[in-house]
């Protein structure tokens, strides 16, 4: 049973969809009685409750980057390949399209947005330090994390009291985002060899050891944003950060005084993606074809471009990323077209399986990194604690025997 029989209900999160696009969709699909409904609070919890109860389900729902958690229960959803998804696949980034499909090819998710990660940096401060400051020059100067760290030390030598990057968590998270393998195989087998995780870990510890991280832990706003970090952006203490495109809005909003001083370029270590979302049709939907038609219209290039322009959701379709409305020079980035930089990175991202446990595992590692960074914990002990905790957790959940 759906939430609203006779209608096509669409659940989306706060700031999860352009209201203008939805208004247009409501008019366009009036015959299908399309009803967008913004879920207050946590959409995942609402969806899980509805799925568990088998009632009040939406016809169409947004799903986050941990879409794989629904793969084992794909019978609760609609395979979009049965409704013409395959023909549209070419219009979207292949790795993102792939991420919405189960290992046996059931297309559960239709791509909304992605989170290509770039190096955000303060052009004025790099220039003041007498270092490369134009995007292409910076990208060429810091192709690897190692070079990036050395670069940061040179800035600090010239301009003391500044930090290269936010914290160990950022270094670890974006190092992992660049990996082809994360924690599990697509068949949900735990990767025993976690040497690439160890690499990301060591890199984070090294950044801390070389005093390049600010390490503003703890204090945060309701949305989980760091109060101290906002202040550091305003004062110019944080001179750069590697982050997915979705942070642009937060920087613009919390540090309006720094407009025109930021630039973006290819990040050290290679292209990577962090975050993004999908649309899915639940099996409760009486008319999946109509739902699919709405979805494919919502995610057409023009609407994806509107989604970026209005709420910063970076388009998963290259055609949308080429839309003139969003590729125009951005004064906040000194007239640079930030979208082109992100689109270039997104093009080079490779598929990596994001398992249902990835968020918890990543959080466990970054919790321990925070203990090293802020609590003075021995990195080796922290690593062992993280590994132990993860193995215990996976054993409890029956993933490891």
């Amino acid at each position: 049973m759906t939430a609203n029989p006779g209608h096509l209900t669409f659940w989306y999160t706060y700031n999860g969809f352009s209201e203008n696009v939805l208004k247009a969709a409501r008019k366009r699909f009036a015959a299908d009685k399309f009803v967008p409904s913004q879920v207050s609070g946590d959409l995942t919890q609402r969806l899980l409750a509805a799925l568990a109860g088998g009632a009040y389900l939406p016809d169409i729902t947004m799903i986050g980057d941990n879409i794989s958690r629904y793969f084992g229960d794909s019978d609760r959803f609609v395979n979009m390949n049965d409704h013409g998804a395959r023909e549209l696949a070419g219009g979207y980034l292949p790795w993102k399209w792939h991420a919405g499909a189960t290992p046996d090819g059931f297309q559960l998710g239709f791509p909304i947005d992605i989170g290509p990660a770039a190096l955000y940096y303060r052009h004025d401060i790099f220039e003041k330090a007498g270092l490369p400051s134009e995007p292409d020059d910076v990208a060429a100067a810091v192709p690897t994390w190692e070079k990036y760290f050395t670069f940061g030390e040179r800035i600090r030598d010239k301009l003391p009291g500044r930090y290269l990057i936010t914290d160990t968590k950022t270094v670890f998270t974006y190092s992992m985002a660049q990996e082809r393998r994360k924690y599990f195989t697509p068949e949900n087998t735990y990767l025993d060899d976690q040497s690439h995780v160890r690499l990301a870990w060591d890199r984070a510890v090294e950044a801390f050891g070389r005093r390049l991280t600010a390490g503003f832990g703890g204090s945060q706003t309701a949305g989980g944003q760091s109060v101290d970090r906002h202040a550091a952006w305003n004062t110019g203490q944080e001179v750069s950060l590697v982050n997915a495109s979705w942070i642009t809005g937060e920087i613009k909003q919390s540090a309006p005084g720094t407009a025109g001083k930021w630039r973006v370029c290819a990040p050290p270590g290679g292209p990577g993606n962090q975050g993004g979302s999908f649309l899915a049709i639940t099996a409760a939907c009486p008319d999946p074809q109509a739902a699919f038609d709405i979805i494919s219209w919502l995610q057409n290039p023009a609407n994806q471009a509107a989604n970026y322009a209005e709420i910063g959701l970076f388009p998963s379709g290259p055609a949308a990323a080429d839309d003139e409305r969003i590729t125009a020079p951005d004064p906040f980035f000194g007239g640079q077209s930030a979208v082109r930089v992100f689109a270039d990175i997104a093009d080079q991202v490779k598929y990596a399986y994001f398992s249902p446990w990835d968020i918890t595992l990543s959080d466990t590692y970054t919790d321990e990194l925070t203990n090293v960074e802020l609590g003075g914990k021995d990195p080796e002990r922290a690593w062992r604690d993280a590994r132990n905790r993860i193995e215990r957790l996976l054993r409890r959940q029956g993933v490891l025997s």
Binding site: L51, A52, R69, Q220, V227, D228, A232, D367, R396
Partner: protein, 324 residues
């Protein structure tokens, strides 16, 4: 509950004259309005209280991610719980924060109540002012406190700097975190308790004080020998209430530090751990097991409280009524 026996009596056990039967039926119907009148509570309680309680017990024996089929794992979750250092840490954190908040809060509230009791001017305005924190949105409050305690750019550290006391890493150091949470609780509940204490103070018999004054007791003696012992029931009430609240500390931690309790998990309280496991990690079976672990802790605490309240009163003041 005696009325239910009427309903349950088998009608066909012994043949009865029809008149008696009719009388019974009438009696049954006569009670119906009362049952209907009290039923909303019992129905709502059964649906939203009783059923979830038993369901969570059932859930604690399962492994469930919220979507797929549940898998029965027996007491596995509880076995894990007993050896889960995070759970034990969360109990310790909860108790530490509770003590750190309750002791200063009670003292402060008592002082405020004494002040309010003796002051003559602006009594009403002051009472409202002290009560305000209690009705302020806790989330809004946490945001404000987040800015106050912020390590690098917080107001509190700025003030400490002015006095040359240096930086305190409020939200990164384990004790800083617990302090910050305790201060938030103190800020929120001191006024509430002060009002309760004030009500208690105003109900104290004045003749005892008059007698003390005649006997030449100093204000300090009066306070410790008369006010405190007479206020004991009120103090116990406040202690029990703060224990109930203290074992459920959640929002302050969550809004200030996120679902994982901040660096070192120093702000990870029992309820926050339960919430994070069930609703952030979607590990509902284990979440339910943690909830039952919390239940056991609360029961132990209740027994402790009960013993405390039941203890024979010492140092009682003999009032006129008792003497008679």
């Amino acid at each position: 509950m005696t009325a239910t026996s009427d309903l349950d009596t088998p009608a066909t056990a012994v043949p009865r004259p029809p008149a008696e039967d009719a009388a019974r039926r009438r009696r049954r119907w006569r009670h119906l309005p009362q049952y209907v009148a009290v039923s909303p509570f019992f129905i709502l309680f059964a649906v939203f209280g009783l059923y979830p309680v038993f369901y969570s017990l059932y859930l604690s024996l399962q492994r469930w991610d919220g979507v797929g089929p549940m898998k029965f794992v027996g007491l596995e979750n509880f076995r894990y719980l007993l050896t889960d250092s995070q759970f034990w840490d969360s109990i310790a954190n909860t108790l530490i924060i509770w003590v750190m908040s309750t002791v200063p809060m009670t003292v402060l509230a008592l002082l405020i109540a004494l002040g309010l009791n003796s002051s003559v001017r602006f009594k009403g305005a002051l009472r409202v002012a002290y009560f305000m924190p209690n009705v302020t949105s806790i989330v809004a409050m946490s945001l404000v406190f987040g800015s106050i305690f912020s390590g690098e750019f917080g107001i509190l550290n700025w003030i400490l700097d002015l006095f040359g006391l240096g930086h305190v890493p409020w939200l990164t150091d384990p004790w800083g975190i617990r302090c910050a949470i305790a201060i938030m609780i103190i800020w929120r509940w001191t006024g509430y308790n002060a009002i309760i204490f004030l009500a208690g103070l105003q109900a104290l018999p004045t003749d005892v004080y008059e007698a003390a004054r005649v006997d030449g007791a100093s204000p300090v003696q009066t306070f410790f020998r008369i006010t405190l012992p007479l206020l004991r029931p009120v103090l116990l009430f406040s202690l029990v209430m703060s224990a109930i609240g203290g074992l459920q500390i959640f929002t302050e931690s969550q809004v200030l530090l996120g679902d994982r309790g901040g660096p070192g998990g120093a702000g990870l309280t029992m309820v926050l751990y339960f919430y994070g496991t069930a609703f952030a990690d979607n590990d509902f079976g284990y979440g339910a097991a943690i909830a039952w672990g919390i239940f056991v802790v609360v029961v132990l605490f209740s027994i402790l409280n009960w013993r405390l309240v039941q203890r024979p009163e010492r140092g009682r003041v003999t009032t006129k009524e008792d003497a008679r």
